[in-house]
Amino acid sequence: MTWVGKSALRKEGDSKLRGQAKYIDDISLSGMMHGITVRSPIARGLLKKIEYLPGVNWDEFITVTAKDIPGNNYVALIKKDQPYLVDEKINHPEEPILLLAHSNKHILEKARSLIKFHIESLPPVFTLEEAIKQDPIIWGTNNTFKSYAIDRGDVESAFKDAHILLEGTYETGAQEQLYIEPNGVIAIANEKEGVTIWGSMQCPYYVHKALVPLFNLPPEKIRVVQAETGGGFGGKEEYPSVISGHAALLSWKAKRPVKIIYDRMEDMVATTKRHPSKTRIKTAFDKNHKLIALDIDFTIDGGAYATLSSVVLSRGTLHASGPYFSSNIKIRSRALATNTPPHGAFRGFGAPQSLFAIEKHMEFCARELKLDPVKFRKLNFIKHGEILGCGQLVKEKIKLNSVVEKALIESDFHKKRKAFVKTNKNSPIKKGIGLAVFMHGAGFTGSGETFLASIAAVKATPEGKIEILTSNTEIGQGTNTIFSQMAADALNIDFSDIEVVQPDTAHVPNSGPTVASRTCMIVGKLVEQASKDLKQKLISAQLLKEKYTRKEFISACKKYIKEIGELKGSSQYKAPSHIVWDEQKYQGDAYGTYAWAAYVAETSTDTRTFETTVDKFWAVQEVGKVINPLLAKGQIIGGVAQGIGYALYEEVIWKEGRMANNKMSNYIMPTTLDVPEIEVHFLELPYSYGGGGSKGLGELPLDGPSPAILNAMEHALKITLRQIPMTPEKLMAQMEEINK
């Protein structure tokens, strides 16, 4: 029996269901203190003095400021610009200045209110426009974290020869990840034992990398363990390095374990969000409506520090031309600095922003050209043998047309498109149906995977069970289950014979971060290869034949361990020869492969209240081999719900660079009543370099819903909509504009 392709039950499902799974706040260590972070009230300035007002006995508190840092005061990631604690310069609201610990969690809140910061304020930058003006300069020499340029063909002359030119500007807002469990860690840090962290996180080795310079300790003195994690969505990719460092600094000074758990308000106001973006697109078409030139200007707001913005920008840039072919392409992109908390990783990582722009633009062009939006798209789709915007030749077979056809048939697209126009006439509620077509490259961009050089291992236990050792985390998306399925098949044993070891940098190799759907596609493949490596050892030791039963395998493992010793297989990533990326020229095979998708949204807009609801949603995608259909479907459904939030509901309201609506009652995430039935269909075209034949699928449902939903609203309302979230207030303003 094979396990890949079956809906095996979640490995950790039972303990989660019974409430036995231990999340970080369920853990308590003896002598443990609680820590809090006291943060900047303003966006930009110079810290002059910290005053401790009377009202508590300050001697009972552990206080940590930048001066207490034993090593280097920066959060090691890509650049070294972000301090753990403000030394003098404050660059965003809620920036950490002071850490407090006490054994009574509640008195900390009282102490927090008795801290007074004396700050000399400096002029801040809050918008992309202000950042571009460079008045003032708040980061580097020009407020720019990173910029990219892509040039192919001759855009200028294509524009001259064009039959028609069309231009539009598109904007997307910030979005909060809203994992169920807020950020939290426990640290034990002292000179003798070094630093140990247990926490809710996606990437233990990122935390590890950050703590080494913070404490100036050798890497083996730092240990990071992932506790059960209640969701991440990218929000626990880089941020846990910050909170872990803070807890460790307090523990270092207190010489006792310290726990820091953010409450929802702190998590929302102080941690990362999706990068807001602005994209200007100019397109040229010939008289047959073929796209002949594409000029894209893509800008994202990175917040106050560089963090991952350069990589987010890269993915956004490389996806900016969508699934369309044009022989002339010019793309300029940049990530800019503003005095808001740094924006960071969030499911899709830059692609939802640029794909929103191109898919909205193509819809706009179809309407301007008076063409059927489906036919128009098909005319311009990238084909096998053509070159994508990033310069990548499409070498593999693609099923884009079949994906689109399936979406159209399942949703009855053409019929509804006609019917709604009629029924809308006499109703205050206008129905629409809209399509978005897109692709998403899984795994790290360009040579990223080569640099990571991830390692995965499998190990036999004396009982004949197989343990999987990777640093990839289970954060609700199914890591444990799919790894077990892949290993079971590679070893030809049972799913129940496999156990996934808790990610702990003291015991697991660095298989890279849990991001970008690379866990399934890249690390899954490594798990398979490591399994085969282990099997080969048994065969070489003549304890196993090429063909064997499960029983034979188990006894061979036991025998090997008894007679020879440790039985372990491992595998390290090597880029397949078909992937060639030129970092200097910034072009080539940006991704090993792409998943392709067509999403359809059916919406109703009440023209009396300007409220839009999504009535039904169809998500059709080709994702390579589907490893676990139930988990895969769950990923898509959950993601589409998050995408609906991104499109219509979730608006971060900024006041002086600070999120003003940092509560779940005023940051509006859709509820079950706001999310419709979501139909999920998979097409499979196994990718031979992906674990079990998989590509990635986790990001697709954040890419597609917003353009599909706005396209449906445009169909219903006959207006052009170019920004998300399209809240009722914004829709009303747009409709008024048009009626003027």
Partner: protein, 283 residues
């Protein structure tokens, strides 16, 4: 939890007498706690002494006589939703209770708390205004009854004195021949604070409006009866131009503001559109 708990105290009052002495000592009533706990969690509740009133019999339950229905201050949204007589006589109250928060809040939140909290965005007041409810307040000094229209004085301000509790709400079932209309516009379908809401009643005889009452919430410092519009519409036969005029007049009764949830302009236009929806439905 951002509050420092030792700064607060909490007792349970089992009888009205106990409650009165708590009030006398300066303590504050705590019913379902669904407004109070939000503030406490955010560290926005001033340290104080609280007393739980949930066990006080006199404040519990729905009582009906031929002439009136009395809703004890501790009546929950769920009790309102499920009550046969409220469903048939005061459907706006059922409809609005059904849209408060979600089930857990409906099981816990009380009508007394909703009224005493005096938020302009509270969902029950517009319905109580159009049904011309009476509110009964109790203290050591005795029971006093007010027209509900007189109760709310301004943003988070009301007639309740320091020594008083809300005792109950009295409703007279005299609207069998009326059209009842309720619409809440929040930011999503559940767990939503209203951006604007309308409760409206009308009795129409041969197309002529004999009686009409309109109240809106979230568009002024308190829920408001739209008396100017009512006066204008009374006795009229509805036509597109009367509706247009009514929408214009409505803007005089409202003072919506921009806040974190919406804009004043949106609230005004949508309120006008809801009025139109109501009027189109009765014409």
């Amino acid at each position: 939890m951002r509050a420092y708990l030792p700064d607060y105290s909490f007792h349970r009052a089992k009888t009205l007498t106990e409650a009165f002495s708590q009030l006398e000592a300066g303590a504050k009533p705590f019913a379902g706690g669904t407004d109070i706990m939000v503030l406490l969690d955010a560290g926005a509740l001033p340290p104080d002494n609280y007393f739980d009133i949930l066990a006080i019999k006199e404040l519990q339950g729905i009582r009906s006589t031929k002439k009136a229905l009395s809703l004890g201050a501790l009546t929950t949204y769920s009790e309102i939703r499920n009550h046969k007589l409220i469903q048939s006589n005061f459907p706006i109250l059922c409809a609005s209770a059904r849209e408060v928060g979600a089930i857990a809040i409906q099981n816990r939140g009380t009508i007394g708390g909703n009224i005493a909290n005096s938020s302009p965005a509270a969902d029950l007041p517009p319905g109580l205004l159009v049904y011309e409810a009476q509110i009964n307040l109790i203290s050591k000094r005795g029971l006093r009854t007010l027209d509900y229209t007189k109760f709310h004085l301004g943003y988070k301000k009301n007639e309740l004195q320091k020594d008083e509790l809300i005792h109950s709400i009295t409703l007279k079932p005299e609207f069998q021949k009326h059209h009842h209309f309720w619409r809440k516009v929040g930011s999503r379908r559940s767990q939503a604070i209203s951006k604007t809401m309308i409760a409206a009643l009308a009795k129409v005889n041969r197309k002529r409006i004999e009686d009409i009452r309109i109240a809106l919430g979230s568009v002024a410092p308190t829920a408001v009866r739209c008396l100017e519009v009512e006066t204008f519409l009374k006795g009229k036969i509805l036509s597109p131009s009367t509706i247009l005029e009514a929408k214009k007049i409505l803007s005089r009764d409202l003072h919506p503001i921009d806040d974190i949830r919406s804009t004043g302009k949106y609230r005004l236009i949508v309120s006008q559109n809801m009025l139109e929806e109501f009027l189109c439905g009765i014409g």
